[in-house]
Amino acid sequence: MAALDAEVREGVDRETVETVQAMAGKYKHGWETDIEMEFAPKGLNEDIVRLISEKNGEPEWMLAWRLEAYQRWVKMEEPRWAMLNYPEIDYQDQFYYAKPKSMAEKPKSLDEVDPKLLATYEKLGIPLKEQMILAGVEGAENAPAEGRKVAVDAVFDSVSLGTTFKDELAKAGVIFCSISEAIREHPELVKKYLGSVVPQSDNFFATLNSAVFSDGSFVYIPEGVRCPMELSTYFRINAENTGQFERTLIIADKGAYVSYLEGCTAPQRDTNQLHAAVVEIVALDDAEVKYSTVQNWYPGDENGKGGIYNFVTKRADCRGDRSKVMWTQVETGSAITWKYPSCILRGDDSQGEFYSIAIANNMQQADTGTKMIHLGKNTRSRIVSKGISAGKAQNTYRGLVTMHPKAKNSRNYTQCDSLLIGDQCGAHTVPYIEVKNNSSRVEHEATTSKVDEDQLFYCRSRGMDEEEAVALVVNGFCKEVLQALPMEFAMEAQSLVAISLEGSVG
């Protein structure tokens, strides 16, 4: 049976490549939903922070926390050390809160949500009905239904529309809700963990997020619980000139396990939009969290017009002994990507993994990588980064591996490969390696090369056209990372790889 699964899966690459071939080669989520919105006034000041807090019905302590962050933020400077080139961002020329009018009264369940909003997610292939499975997976219907359930939190601009499978999850003791709800319903957990991994003052964008985050997801998996289904959040930016600032907090208590998926898309617009999210993960003793992202924000057009500016702080604190966090990301979207999902390996024997595919085509710029901070004994980390540059794009891997003096007998292995398609793009590798004890072993390897002409010719001599050949070879180059993704995401990611590279050859 297992062998057959493997073969079916093998077969699916093929389907994907084909689907991709059939598409026009344009960003496929670039449409917008025509819906009446309620905006906070443009710009950022204390009043806006108060307004966001009030809209979310937050307690006083939360407002105080936000205001403190805001006060810090006004004194901070935007970091410019990344290999990213973009015009100055006018933080006063943005909306910081946008909510569909129909959401004025919080719907009690997803059934009551505005059909236009539900249709939006349906069009994106995101199941908001509990009997549905993630769309677009051939053969998925043959799989046992139990194993295929995915609970979804749908975030539309500044608000969460609702989450699915709440009751079933509650039976298992799992809390999965919007962060705004968690602040109201589970203040003790939020107070304890919010900002404990990414402190308020961590960096310019995280501090901004701390002040103005409007919604996001909250997950708590109690001690010893293996989350009965995969959890996912689907972020959709829809409104114009609106920044999205979501905040995600995931807590895996002792011995808990959860696999979490994140997807992101946005309409095609000529102006740039700001996205500054924070994700915090806490893993206690023996807990395991898998966090997978397929980031497909609108990348801008081939001349670099429009696209999302994506400044994201993601960090996991492997606080407990033997805890494990695995980040997998497929970064194909955004005009600018600034993102370094990291692990603080604090617990003894804790493990961190980072698997990344970053594709930059046309005028996209990506500066992404990870930090693995080894503090505990016998900690392990593994980094596999595959960067693909095409068009006039610039793609940088930036990473830090630190072995602290007390992190005895720890290991890191890093493999960073870059592939260049065409001679107008750039591929850069900037690793920082800090080893402060001798019982730990750190290995870093990096290669840069162009897409292999012999491989392309071989494929073409067997009948594939050039784009198909490139998609196949690049998917092969990324295989190790694709395999780290949950199956549904692997399919989407493979097709994205192909779509993202269309027009890069010939």
Binding site: A6, E7, V8, E10, R14, Y458, S461, R462, N475
Partner: protein, 251 residues
């Protein structure tokens, strides 16, 4: 089937003429062999026919069933029914052998306006053909040619040929790097594909492959031209006397 007329080819990057007027007609249902010493232009001929970059055709033509090959993209040649079994099959990391095969089969079907093969049907056919070539499930799962031995790579080429069912098969030094057993397997694979509608051009340095794949016609190539043509006995003559005699005779 394949008709090559007065083909002149030079290297794109340097001024070096490699083929200097090759004339060759391969009829449907026949097996032609081209033999010749190293550097005679045998492999260049196979690469030019399959559309590899780096060569410039300065004169002449090559048609497959009347269609001009030399102006087609490599994938169009494949769709038209041309297949080259590479002397050095290329390794493609991360791409499963099965995925590769299925992508190729369906790409060609699509190009020809045919229905695609379903996953189940494909699996069935592949397994059957792989079995005949003693290609096990593991080899099918591994990335294309990665970590394959010389013999495995050549068997894999023949498997691709069997799956793609081309009309015109060119085997470029398929015997190189094969031991006796592997050569037998490969030859059986090729012989199984021989039929009325299909032609073969077997390029080889040594006669031994031709013990297993009996040619209808043997050509000797030297200095970028075909210098002698004859029956299977010509191959035996080369085996006995080497190329020197024939070449001096041809001059």
């Amino acid at each position: 089937m394949l008709e090559i007329k007065n083909l002149h080819v030079k290297l794109e990057e340097e001024d070096k003429q490699i083929l200097k007027g090759v004339n060759l007609t391969v009829e449907a249902g026949k097996v032609h062999a081209i033999m010749g010493p190293n550097g005679s232009g045998k492999s260049t001929l196979s690469y030019v026919l399959s559309g590899r970059e780096g060569y410039e055709v300065t004169e002449g033509s090559a048609t497959l069933e009347g269609e001009e090959l030399l102006e087609m993209e490599p994938e169009e040649r494949a769709a038209a029914g041309l297949f080259l079994a590479f002397q050095y099959p290329v390794e493609i990391p991360g791409v499963g052998n099965m995925t590769f095969l299925r992508t190729a089969v369906n790409a060609q079907r699509k190009a020809r306006g045919e229905e695609e093969m379903s996953a189940a049907e494909f699996l069935k056919v592949v397994r059957e053909k792989a079995k005949a070539l003693k290609i096990d499930a593991d080899m099918l799962k591994r990335p294309v040619n990665m970590g394959f031995s010389g013999g495995e790579k050549k068997r894999n080429e023949i498997l691709q040929m069997a799956m793609l069912e081309p009309k015109m098969c060119i085997l470029d030094e398929t015997d190189s790097g094969l031991d006796v057993d592997a050569m037998k397997l490969v030859s059986e694979g090729v012989n199984a594909l021989r039929d009325e509608g299909r032609a073969f051009l077997v390029i080889t340095h040594y006669q031994r492959l031709l013990d297993h794949i009996t040619p209808d016609v043997v050509h000797i190539m030297a200095g970028g031209r075909i210098v002698k043509t004859g029956g299977p006995e010509l191959a035996l003559e080369v085996e006995r006397n080497g190329y020197a005699d024939i070449m001096s005779e041809a001059v």
